[in-house]
């Protein structure tokens, strides 16, 4: 091989990027430097998703509010009034439910969008090189906008029900948010990569998400599972969203104490899912253009 001396490469004006294309090795790590170089693309794609989301709609951004609010009203009627599920203490059921829905909506929408992101952009994948991670990551970002908007309703409800969140609660909130984002990214990376090869994901996901909602304490409180400790701890430990919702209710509505143990487990598990998804994605990424 003619490997030229390094001095040769720096000749001429301006920076000259030299790189080598080789058959990929076994296990690839994440190229953070490259991700940073493509940050503009990430922002532009996120901006595009937000920009097109409510184009040619009459209600526009209002949809971000209508969805959780209507779900809350219907669920309150069915599960609380008809099904007699209670919040577990004096907390009014609508606001109890809404806190759960807020995180759940973000999680389910991000999972759905992220898992479809690669298939949706197959043309781009086949024609342009960029770190493919950007696509599912974008999906997680755009969901945050909806989350922020529907949080306004939560604030309104808290005023209506006269809740003043403890200062500690507001400090905990970012940690909870990070848990949810990491978990959705982890599964989003994994599912999007799987979806490239096996389109079964498209059929399975809506139904799995629906089932998942029932193993997440969205409409009920984990206290209701006290009689089934195994299930309770499986739900709390394996599913970071459960811990997040339970702790969010404690932090924002003062429903019990913030459980730091569960918080740590949620954070740990979400990191595990995130890293797993990331590496699975990285190591299947190279074939995306050939099989998508």
């Amino acid at each position: 091989m003619d490997v030229e001396p390094a001095a040769e490469l720096t000749k001429g004006q301006g920076p000259v990027a030299e790189y080598v294309i080789r058959p990929p090795g076994r296990l690839l790590s994440v190229d953070w430097k490259e991700l940073w170089r493509f940050r503009d693309l990430f922002f532009v794609l996120a901006w595009r998703d937000i920009a097109i989301r409510y184009k040619q709609t009459v209600l526009g951004i209002l949809w971000a509010i209508i969805q959780p609010v209507v779900t809350m009203v219907v669920f309150t009627f069915i599960f609380n009034r008809v099904g007699n599920i209670q919040s577990g203490d004096s907390t009014p059921y609508p606001i109890f439910l809404y806190v759960g829905l807020l995180f759940w909506h973000y999680y389910s929408i991000t999972l759905t969008n992220a898992s479809n992101s690669l298939v949706l952009h197959q043309n781009m994948i086949q024609k342009i090189y960029f770190p493919r991670l950007i696509l599912p990551a974008t999906a997680a970002t755009t969901g945050l906008i909806d989350l922020a908007i529907s949080s306004i309703i939560l604030a309104g409800m808290m005023i209506y029900y006269r809740f003043s969140p403890p200062a500690l609660g507001l400090l905990v909130l970012p940690i909870l948010l990070i848990c949810v984002i990491l978990t959705s990214l982890g599964f989003g990376f994994f599912l999007s990569a799987i979806n490239v090869k096996y389109r079964d994901v498209r059929h399975a996901l809506p139904f799995v998400i629906q089932l998942l909602m029932y193993v997440t304490p969205v409409i009920y409180s984990v206290k209701m599972l006290d009689k089934h400790p195994v299930i309770k701890y499986l739900v709390l430990w394996l599913n970071p969203i459960s811990g997040v919702i339970t702790n969010a209710r404690a932090a924002l509505l003062g429903q019990g104490q913030v459980d730091w143990g569960i918080m740590a487990i949620s954070l740990l598990m979400s990191c595990v899912y995130f890293v797993f998804g990331l590496y699975y994605f990285r190591n299947t990424e190279r074939d995306f253009a050939d099989i998508v």
Binding site: M1, D2, L9, K11, V16, A17, E18, Y19, V20, I21, R22, P23, P24, D40, L41, F43, V44, L45, R48, A51, I52, K55, Q56, H121, N123, M124, I125, Q126, K127, I128, Y129, F130, V196, K197, Y198, R199, D200, R286, D287, A289, D290, I291
Partner: protein, 472 residues
């Protein structure tokens, strides 16, 4: 590595010879004006191969169930799958010097696009190694990532980012892009309301303002109408002449010979020719089943025609009277028809149409021009009719010949009509003595004849305007 891959080394040496000989003989190529300081290798491709696994018919995507079933079958029968290996590319080695424009040609499935995808980083090679020295932009399509709901302005930013421009870069070039695209008035209109032409113009405008050191282009010119294709070609030429390194995959031999100094021919994943562009395209077209410039029918009974006339051969001849599929724009060429005439009662006439790449028939001509022959009574036998087209008449590009033998009169009869029976390429080397003169850009027109021009400086008359003499 040299010991293990003598072939790639040989090829590289050969490549070096070619580039050296090009500098040694300036004037042979349009690029002779380039400074000879570009001997630095900017792309080095060594023994690159790409293998695809083909399982029977190629499935678009697999379902999980199939995969599980297959895994079980494989486990139980110890059968390692009937997956066949298909090498889209094998042992491809060549290098590209800084500032060089190299064409990659070959038939469909020859591996051109795969090579470009590997170079663009879109798909990894199975073996081999590529070293790139410089920022790369690949243009495998125009308008990738355009979103129909977004406005023209928004899509410029979006597409710019997708192609690898930074926000600041797009902002700086924004006005230029808009001017080039000619869609100023519709900048705030969603792209879905654009006509196809507007869409493609905008998309190309963004792509045209990329400023990488290495540009990889694939068949981008295949989209859009003829006028747009020409505009693209002109812009590509600017890029190639601007000292940037260009790798250009195309079916369009005329474009390759114009834009590139060198061309690499791929055939079934292997590099078969690596030579100066004109030579490579000529050799490629000759090798292409041998029927581009000549077609013969050995068996009269199965040849096209009826019981009056049957076609025996059609060929394109250059100014030396040799069969040639590439002709210099300055030289005359001939189209020769041979047909078997079998009924003495009729007087068949040979007809030739020349059709260009756009499907336009430039002209039709027949052997009535040879009055001596036309008025001769016919007797059965082999007839050879040759039509000579002068040099400096056809434009550059690919031309197709329609050959026919007909009888005028009552009844008017087609004995045979053969479309695209042979084809040839007219090449303009742009050496300054053609119709273009010193112009090197895109030259319009379906023909390129030379006309007489008279230019004089008028003496000052004090009058601002003049009037031409009137015919009576």
């Amino acid at each position: 590595m040299d010991d293990r891959r003598p072939t790639s080394d040989d090829r590289r040496r050969k490549t070096d010879d070619i580039s050296r000989s090009r500098f040694a003989a300036p004037g042979s190529q349009s690029s002779a004006a380039r400074p000879p300081t570009m001997s630095k290798t900017i792309i080095q491709i060594d023994g690159v191969g790409k293998r695809y696994r083909v399982r029977g018919q190629r499935e678009r995507y697999l379902s999980l169930r199939d995969e599980i079933a297959k895994t079980f079958r494989r486990l139980s029968t110890k059968d390692q799958g009937r997956a066949k290996d298909f090498w889209a590319l094998r042992d491809v080695s060549f290098s590209v010097n800084e500032g060089e424009a190299v064409g990659i040609i070959g038939r469909n499935g020859a591996g051109k696009s795969t090579l470009l995808k590997i170079l663009s980083h879109i798909t990894p090679p199975t073996e081999g190694r590529i070293t790139m020295r410089g920022r790369v932009a690949s243009l495998l399509e125009v308008g990738t990532g355009f979103h129909p709901e977004l406005t023209g302005r928004e899509n410029i930013y979006l597409n710019g980012a997708i192609l690898g421009m930074s926000r600041a870069e797009v902002k700086r070039k924004f006005d230029e892009i808009v001017t080039f695209s000619e869609v100023e008035k519709f900048l705030e209109t969603p792209v879905k309301r654009y006509s196809t032409g507007m869409f493609v113009r905008l998309a190309f405008a963004v792509a045209a303002h990329l400023e990488p050191e290495i540009l990889l282009v694939d068949e981008v010119l295949a989209v859009g109408d003829a006028a747009f294709q020409k505009k693209c070609l002109g812009k590509m030429e600017d890029v190639a002449r601007g000292g940037r390194t260009v790798l250009f995959v195309s079916h369009n031999m005329a474009a390759v010979t114009r834009l590139c100094q060198r061309a690499v021919v791929l055939n079934r994943g292997l590099v078969t020719i690596d030579a100066p562009a004109a030579e490579a395209t000529a050799r490629y077209m000759q090798s292409d089943s041998g029927t581009m410039a000549e077609r013969r029918w050995g068996d009269v009974s199965s040849a096209p025609g009826d019981d009056v006339a049957r076609l025996r051969a059609v060929r394109v001849l250059n100014s030396q009277g040799l069969v040639a599929d590439t002709v210099d724009i300055r030289e005359p060429l001939s189209i020769e028809l041979e047909y078997q005439h079998m009924a003495s009662s009729l007087r068949p006439t040979a007809v030739v149409h020349i059709v260009n790449e756009g499907g336009i028939t430039l002209f039709a001509t027949n052997d009535w021009e040879d009055r001596r022959w036309y008025n001769t009574p016919r007797s059965p036998g082999l007839v050879r009719a040759r039509c000579t087209i002068p040099g400096n008449f056809l434009a550059e590009g690919h031309f197709f010949v329609l050959a026919a033998v007909v009888t005028y009169g009552r009844p008017y009869t087609h004995h045979l009509v053969e479309r695209d029976v042979v084809s040839f390429l007219v090449v303009d080397h742009s050496e300054g003595d053609g119709v273009r003169g010193p112009a090197t850009d895109f030259w319009p027109g379906v023909v390129r004849p030379r006309f007489k021009w008279d230019v004089t400086k008028l003496p000052p008359t004090g009058s601002e305007w003049t009037q031409g003499p009137r015919a009576r």
